[in-house]
């Protein structure tokens, strides 16, 4: 069967909306367009009803109750609200926040802003496998610590943090625990009760829902978490997030997480199979490949590989009918290679050669076959062009060379 090009294999960045989600959303743009805050007519009631249905669907995904779900514009807003909201509400209690170095910028930059306002932030390091050390976390907690914010799974390398253990430590120490679960929710089981999570961010567009809508779980009891709002106005979402609710978006988010939850056992097994098939296919055909991050504690659909001696952007240019992303500096606006890979201790030379593959619901084995072939061809061709590959094959130790950067 011929594959349709281009192939999308960048499902950590975003996912296509599932047609079943689109179908669920459509009536709420036109016939049922009401404002969920309109309490005095049927248009408003209909909107309110589906919003509450969406809240229940999100709650079910993470084993929460519907009242604990706040709708937002996406996970960046959820992360901002969780961290800034706790910081402001509990600043009398303490001014210390703990996070870790491979967080998404939505968490790191939020923490950096709080530092400007007098908060102290500890950025825990990660080991070579991409995970934090729990003893580091225990040692970092002080009487001033009010929040631990550690992502569930990383967006670049797919590595899953020891969430249940972190939750246990946070509970013991009486510190709130927020997790950015954007990459994990809907992909692997997430349980805020079992894992003692107090705040959790999710986004619709990472789980085959629409862009521009997400949610924040805010624990209501044992312990109750209160948040200062960052967007003020009509007092929607129990005062924590004002703004007219995105009704079609919420319908889409709800439907997307419902599908993800129902299909998770089957889907995660299928994606894991394709991911491992991709990995094995590449490793069987090419030498000098390196996996970035733990292969054990990893999302099933996720693979991050460094193709030594081949610069990432030139590789993307060669496989231009396959959408993936690279940790190479040349693909970023800052000209710095991936800070995530750097934190793992991956050398900058190898960081420049890294490619992230994210397999999704709509990818097929035929597509993965095509990708294996394309990547193998391009890497082989570019290695013929690479002075580093030539030198390495001649036995030159590249780390001992006296390089002359431009």
């Amino acid at each position: 069967m011929a594959v349709k090009l281009p192939i999308y294999l960048d499902n950590h960045a975003t996912t296509p909306v599932d047609p079943r989600v689109v179908d669920a959303m459509l009536p709420y743009f036109t016939e049922r367009f009401g404002n969920a805050a309109s309490r005095n007519h049927s248009f408003g009631w209909a909107a309110e009803e589906v919003v509450e249905n969406g809240r229940a669907q999100v709650a079910r995904l993470i084993n929460a109750t519907p009242k604990e779900i706040i709708f937002t514009s996406g996970a960046t807003e959820s992360n901002n609200l969780a961290i800034k909201g706790v910081a402001e509400m509990y600043r009398e209690k303490g001014n210390h926040i703990i996070t870790q170095v491979t967080e998404h910028k939505a968490v790191l930059d939020t923490c950096k802003r709080l530092e400007k306002y007098g908060f102290e932030v500890t950025y825990l390091p990660v080991a070579k496998d991409g995970r934090i050390d729990l003893d580091d976390l225990r040692r970092a907690i002080t009487p001033k610590t009010i929040l631990i914010t550690i992502m569930y799974a990383n967006n670049e390398i797919g590595v899953i943090q020891p969430i249940e253990e972190i939750g246990k430590i946070a509970k013991e120490k009486g510190v709130f625990f927020h997790t950015d679960a954007v990459q994990a929710a809907g992909k692997i089981p997430v349980d805020v009760q079992k894992e003692n999570i107090d705040l959790l961010s999710i986004s619709a567009h990472k789980v085959y829902g629409p862009k521009g809508v997400g949610a924040l779980y805010v624990r209501r009891r044992n312990p109750r978490v209160q948040l200062a709002s960052i967007i003020d106005g009509g007092g929607h979402e129990r005062g924590m997030r004002s703004g007219t609710l995105n009704v079609p978006g919420i319908v889409g988010l709800g439907k997307a997480v419902e599908l993800a939850q129902n299909e998770m056992p089957e889907e995660s097994a299928r994606l894991r199979g394709l991911r491992d098939y991709l990995k094995d296919g590449l490793f069987a055909r090419l030498d000098d490949l390196f996996i970035n991050g733990s292969m054990i504690h990893r999302l099933p659909h996720s693979l991050n590989v460094s193709f030594a001696y081949v610069e990432g952007e030139s590789m993307l240019m060669g496989i231009n009918d396959v959408a993936v992303s690279s940790g190479s500096a040349c693909t970023s606006a800052t000209l710095e290679p991936s800070y995530v890979l750097k934190a793992l201790g991956v050398g900058e030379d190898l960081a420049h050669t890294s490619i992230r593959f994210g397999i999704g619901r709509f990818n097929t084995k035929e597509e993965v076959d095509y990708v294996i072939k394309r990547v193998t061809d391009v890497v082989s061709r570019l290695r013929e062009l690479s002075p580093l590959y030539e030198m390495a094959k001649e036995g030159v130790d590249l780390s001992k060379m006296n390089w002359k950067p431009a």
């Binding site: 001696y309 081949v310 610069e311 952007e313 030139s314 240019m317 060669g318 190479s328 500096a329 040349c330 693909t331 000209l335 290679p337 050398g347 900058e348 030379d349 420049h352 013929e384 062009l385 690479s386 002075p387 580093l388 590959y389 030539e390 590249l398 390089w403 002359k404 950067p405 431009a406």
Partner: protein
């Protein structure tokens, strides 16, 4: 990022890929850049000892498409030129020819450095007095 047609052409059909023997007294080798910075160029030229005409040029490059194109173009340009003419090639000429965006200018700088480094190496080997062969490296 969108590439110019010329960059795409050099990337897909790089000219003069390969290596020349470093043992050859008439071959000058320039190796510039660093793996940590994401680009390394190796440019080699075989230069006629009397006429100082560059008879052959080969390159290998680790780097983005613009780096590959810049070095491929450099080999095309230096071939048939005298050493003096080759040293007159400026990175801005490469930028213009390949329509490189500002973020890719360093690729052209690296190509100019590679030309100068290769000629400098040849001069050292051949015992030619070095006048202007010092690399113009200005830090990364």
């Amino acid at each position: 990022m969108a590439y110019s047609d010329k960059v795409v052409d050099h990337y897909n059909n790089p000219r003069n890929v390969g290596s020349l023997s470093k043992e050859d007294p008439n071959v000058g080798t320039g190796l510039v850049g660093a793996p940590e910075c994401g680009d390394v160029m190796k440019l080699q030229m075989r230069i006629h000892p009397e006429t100082q005409v560059i008879e052959e040029a080969k390159f290998k490059t680790f780097g983005c498409g613009s780096a590959i194109a810049s070095s491929s173009l450099a080999t095309e340009w230096v071939k048939g030129k005298t050493v003096e003419e080759a040293l007159a090639i400026k990175n801005t000429d490469i930028v213009r020819e390949l329509s490189l965006p500002p973020v890719k200018i360093h690729c052209s700088v690296l190509a100019e450095d590679a030309i100068k480094a290769a000629i400098g190496d040849w001069k050292k080997k051949a015992g030619v007095e070095d006048t202007a062969a010092e690399s113009t490296s200005a830090g990364h």
